[in-house]
């Protein structure tokens, strides 16, 4: 599963792609955590724009990163989930631990907040 990680000041952007399931989640977790622990960002942005499928393994992935970044009071943002992925997130109540946005994170994260709830 392709993963691109960008670090900008105190934020880390993880662009996820393809299918997120139990098979691929382990490697994603390791790569994201390695960067999180090194940078200790205020904010982790997970961009789901190119994710075509996600089951509850993806929920575990988001929850695990939330738990890690909370150790230094950081926050998690989710961007661009497809309708079916949003359905899984809504079921899991992910909006209680992360804000969910419909627009791209690249151009100034705060002003992109077009949707606050799943």
């Amino acid at each position: 599963m392709p993963l691109k990680l960008y670090t900008k000041e105190k934020q880390v952007i993880a662009c996820l792609a393809g299918e997120i399931d139990h098979h691929g989640a382990g490697r994603l977790r390791e790569e994201i955590d390695e960067t999180l622990e090194r940078v200790r960002p205020d904010r982790l942005i997970l961009d789901f724009r190119d994710v075509t499928f996600m089951d509850s393994s993806g929920i575990g992935l988001v929850m695990g990163r939330y738990r890690l970044i909370r150790e230094w009071e950081g926050a998690v943002e989710i961007h661009n989930p497809s309708p079916s992925i949003k359905k899984v997130m809504r079921l899991a109540g992910l909006d209680r631990i992360a804000s969910i946005h419909s627009s791209p994170p690249q151009s100034g994260v705060n002003s992109d907040k077009t949707e606050a709830k799943v």
Binding site: E19, H22, H23, M54, S56, G60, L61, S84
Partner: protein, 152 residues
């Protein structure tokens, strides 16, 4: 209800087969002309059940996961995912949302909750030491491209 079409699949419990199995079931369901949402529901539910078999039923061992899918009259699809792994002591407890036996905190414990939310019916049968079978059922409503016996 009369069975109009069916398929069987068996594969070793390697995690690479999670994607293979849900894609295969998606292709089988496609003949009912489902919406993208209905197809995503089925793919997600199958992925959850197969992942449970791989992660929980067999754990570190490699066993066989069996899938038997049927298309019945009235656009009904029935998918049974079966393993011969460790089985579940308390099915009711296992089906509670957020219940997980995973100690690392990386499994959400939402597998059965997702199956129940995305399918019309979920039936779980298990015998500790012998295995588990999960039966998922859904009626494909949307486009109404009903499959008739003579088309199969």
């Amino acid at each position: 209800m009369k069975t109009l079409n069916e398929m069987k699949l068996s594969f070793p419990s390697r995690s690479a087969n999670e994607a293979f199995s849900r894609t295969a079931l998606s292709a089988f369901t496609a003949m009912l002309d489902p919406t993208i949402e209905e197809l995503a529901d089925i793919k997600t539910a199958v992925s959850e059940a197969v992942t449970n078999a791989i992660v929980h039923a067999y754990g570190k061992k490699i066993g066989i996961v069996y899938i038997h899918a049927k298309i019945l009259e009235a656009n009904r699809i029935v998918i049974r995912i079966r393993d011969t792994g460790c089985g579940i002591e308390d099915v009711k407890q296992a089906m509670e949302p957020m219940y997980t036996t995973c100690a690392t905190g990386e499994r959400s414990g939402l597998g059965f909750a997702v199956m129940e939310a995305f399918m019309d019916k979920v039936k779980v049968r298990s015998r500790p030491g012998h295995g588990t079978s999960v039966t998922l059922e859904k009626t494909i409503l949307s486009k109404g491209a009903e499959l008739h016996a003579d088309h199969c």
